[in-house]
């Protein structure tokens, strides 16, 4: 698909059906949130700070004031999360945004380095209410496109134990390695070493995801505490965080949290990311002090979700490659 003759390369890589499906989806999303009193917002794509997530590589550009010769590094956002949380802390109420996000070094059948996100935050919602809302949204968006079976809500640990055969939270490396061997993934030991995070990512994406029933939306929740990102720790001492991921046809569609609101904990997670970055020899971006400032002022209790719209369109229209739903993917941009 990426290889095309020069004379044809000016053309879009998607067809007219995909263009219309996208337009209709955007319209339906706006109507859905409008009816629920959720405010549409815009935040900068180009920002002074990038996230600290060690697995995200931002695009960097230079900003120069008029006449300035030496620029300052600015980043294209990898997600609008921090800016939207600053709005929430400022009293915006529940908000949503449809925007572009950029992630360098991500390209493939399910990845384009520039992609469209639907991200929203609901004040007062826990994960259950958030999942209810996603179900309702999907009913609207898939209407006339595809019939989906009733969705399933499964704790991460249960799903992992069912298909991998070990406890993701307490198993040690040798047990993971044994599972990998059984599943013809012997190379996993060299890849993952003693890093539980990588073990879980590899075993979940290679073994669990392909087992998820086609045509059914899965909400996988209560992630192990070693995969916290920006989710709250679940009260009650269990080693899990209040995070939910959406899967359809085995594909990861979205990621949501009962949002971490504690500025001290947030600061510690930034530091944790930076430690990992230092070990990996990655750049050390400054911590976003504006986000920490907003959390210090007080983030209302809320849950938030981000959904990759391009993938959602793929699944709605039965496309197997992301280029089939993009007018101009990176190779034709």
């Amino acid at each position: 698909m990426s290889k095309s003759s020069p004379e044809a390369s000016w053309r879009p890589s998607c067809d007219q059906t995909a263009l219309r499906a996208r337009a209709l989806t955007l319209k339906r999303i706006r109507r859905f949130f409008d009816e629920r009193g959720v405010l549409e917002v815009e935040t900068p794509l180009l920002g002074q700070s990038a996230g600290t997530d060690p697995h995200l590589y931002p695009f960097v550009s230079q900003y120069r004031r008029p006449g300035q010769t030496v620029g300052v590094d600015y980043y294209l956002q990898t997600s609008p999360e921090f800016a939207m949380k600053r709005l929430l802390a400022s009293g915006s109420g529940s908000i949503y945004q449809i925007c572009k996000a950029f992630r360098n070094e991500e390209s493939g059948r399910h990845h384009n380095p520039e992609f469209t996100l639907l991200e929203w935050y609901r004040i007062g919602f826990g994960l259950d209410q958030l999942m209810d809302e996603i179900e309702a949204l999907f009913v609207v968006l898939f209407d006339g496109k595809r019939d989906l079976g009733s969705s399933k809500r499964v704790p991460y640990r249960k799903l992992f134990e069912q298909w991998v055969g070990v406890d993701p939270i307490h198993a040690d490396w040798s047990e993971f390695a044994e599972c990998a061997r059984r599943c013809d993934l012997s190379e996993a030991t060299a890849i993952c070493g003693e890093d539980r995070m990588i073990w879980l990512d590899l075993l979940f994406s290679h073994i669990v995801q392909p087992q998820l029933e086609l045509g059914r939306v899965y909400f996988v929740y209560d992630y192990p505490a070693c995969l916290p990102s920006l989710a709250r720790k679940k009260p009650g001492g269990e080693a899990v965080v209040e995070r939910v991921e959406i899967f359809l046809d085995g594909l990861e569609l979205g990621n949501g949290f009962h949002e971490l609101a504690d500025p001290v904990e947030q600061d510690m997670r930034f530091d944790g990311d930076l430690v990992v970055r230092r070990q990996l020899g990655l750049p050390l971006p400054p911590k976003d002090q504006r986000l920490l400032g907003a959390l210090a002022k007080g983030l209302p209790d809320c849950s938030g979700m981000a959904i990759g719209l391009d993938r959602l369109l793929m699944l709605m229209t039965g496309c197997s490659h992301i280029e089939q739903v993009l007018a101009f993917p990176v190779s034709r941009s």
Binding site: D53, H55, E105, E106, S107, G108, R109, H110, H111, D184, L185, E187, A188, I191, M197, I198, D201, L202, F204, S205, H206, L227, S229, E245, E252, N255, G308
Partner: protein, 189 residues
């Protein structure tokens, strides 16, 4: 030649895998939204033909395989080995049954086929997509049948057996698709 990193991975890449030359036939970028990126790759072992699935971490590398395809003329079989010649340099190569494999039933002297060389020695033989061969034995067909429906087996000069229409007779030349082993047409001498 420098090693290939995961960012160089693409279909058709020839690499060393577990000590054998292999060709990449599928490369899928896998990345959990908040996690580590992997390349899930399918490779075909060029010696055995077996397809292997393997996952690589980003920036892992594979050594390139010294594998090259070359057009060569098939000369003759001496009873044990098959002899080929590179038409420009007249350099000759020999290959045994392990290398020639199924291709042997399509090899006709003077035909040009593709020899895959690994470290300078033949690794596999790919016959032309279509070859013209003489029928040495087939049942006499029914007169007047020109439709080709049904058909009958015919043994060719190389020993290959293909299904041909009823009207095709012994000593006639036919064109065969070597990839499917199917009859294409009759050929006038």
């Amino acid at each position: 030649m420098a090693d290939f990193s995961t960012s160089d991975f693409k279909n058709g890449l020839k690499v060393m895998l577990d000590g054998d030359p292999a060709v990449m036939i599928e490369n899928e970028f896998v990345k959990p939204g908040k996690g580590q990126a992997f390349n899930r790759v399918k490779l075909r072992n060029l010696k055995t033909g077996r397809v292997i699935e393997r996952t690589f971490k980003q920036n892992e590398t594979l050594e390139p395989a010294d594998v090259a395809d070359m057009d060569m003329q098939y000369l003759y079989n001496d009873g044990v080995e098959w002899h080929f010649m590179q038409p420009e340099s007249f350099e000759q190569y020999t290959a045994d049954i392990n290398v020639v494999g199924d291709a042997k039933k399509w090899l006709k002297e003077q035909d040009v086929c593709i020899i895959t060389l690994y470290n300078g020695s033949p690794l596999s033989v790919t016959p032309p997509n279509s070859v013209v061969l003489k029928i040495v034995e087939t049942d006499p067909g029914v007169r007047g049948d020109t439709s080709g429906g049904g058909g009958k087996p015919a043994t060719l000069e190389t020993g290959a057996v293909v299904r041909v229409p009823l009207f095709v007779q012994t000593d006639e030349l036919i064109k065969v698709d070597t990839r499917t082993g199917e009859y294409i047409s009759r050929v006038k001498e």
